[in-house]
Amino acid sequence: MLGRFPALAGADLEVETGEVVLLSGPNGAGKTTLLRLCAGLLPLRAGEAEVLGVDLAVEPRRVRRAVALVGHETFCYDDLTVAENVRFVARSTGHSVEDADAALARVGLQRVADVAHGRLSQGQRRRLSLANALARKPQLLLLDEPHAGLDEHGRDVLEEIVGAAPAENRTVLLASHELDLARRIATREVRVVGGRVHPIPPAAPEPAPSAAELAAAAAVAAQAEARA
């Protein structure tokens, strides 16, 4: 609910393990709300939601431990360094300092490990958010506009992380307006409009050319060659 208005109404979405699902749709459609709901940050006022087989209304804390959300904000402390922020996330979710350091290395932030979060650039903050998410070793990764603020290298890092998700048995829900980039890494797309989820059928493959079309194309090519 946003105030008195339902942010999501009749949203129905089922995602298989290892899928990378792109949520597309206009601003205010409910994409961020859906992600925050899946993360257990918003209460379920009506309906049912099961995340990773856990009833969200009954055990939101169990859901939170198994998911990671990369949102518009970093959830970090300005006065802690990059390494301290990631280590705090790892330890508070039952993981080790080594997991935190490995996550930092994977997003390429070791060089700024001792820099305070408050001094990072926008792109570095986004990568730190990704590191925080990885340090939790989540089964479900929720990405809200993950391309925003990332430079080319950052986008490569993001593509590598999302691309490796199926092999790591990790499911990804991704909301983005940068559709060209997002479609490159998504295995399925659904459109969120007015709080409802609409599946988008996969594009039909191009039909194979007929024999007549092939013959006509060959004739055109031969004529062009003769003129040359």
Partner: protein, 224 residues
Amino acid sequence: MTFFRDALLVAGKDLRIERRSRVALQQIVPFGAIVVVLFAFALDSDPTLLRQAAPGLFWAAVLLAVLLAVGRSFSIEEANRARDGLRLSGLDGGSIFLGKAAAVAVEMFLLEAIVGAAVVVLYDVSIHGVVILVCAAVAATLGLAATGTVYGVLAGGLRARETLVPLLLLPAVMPVMLGATRSFQAALQGAPGDAWPWVQLLVAFAVLAVTAGTVAFGPLLEEA
């Protein structure tokens, strides 16, 4: 064990932030000291009155500084929506409460040591009954930190947080103010027998505040 380990993790995080930002050392402690100095200016025409009022003035200064410490403890959770990060961690609300209250308490002990020294020097107070003073200070500080942390999270998500916390907290900690002042008065006057009942009140308040905070903090964090 995990519960207390998580509390230590949160306390360590908060104290590291304070050590790095130096807000407690450079703003909250000087604020407490300035309040003590202002009282000295206001009452310096009557040194006897100043000595007699020293316990009350000391705890009034501490109480005002607690408001700043609690506000600071929750403002660091508001920046970058770190509060959501805490919620996402899945840490037990009770362990988050204990960690944050412990960090506030540590800052308050530091403040009390410095402000106490200022009171001794400026108000010309002789120290008696050190054991009672320490027991009363520890119990009062735990009570203040625990109550402040509960009201801090309660007002956390509100726009009027800065004005609402004092409004809610000050009436709630009246028993602490009363018990701490009376026990300090009795100790400084060399009447420890009169001080212990007040120390018992402080201990009871601290136990109640810590217990209630441990139970209530999680739901309050979700609702704020």
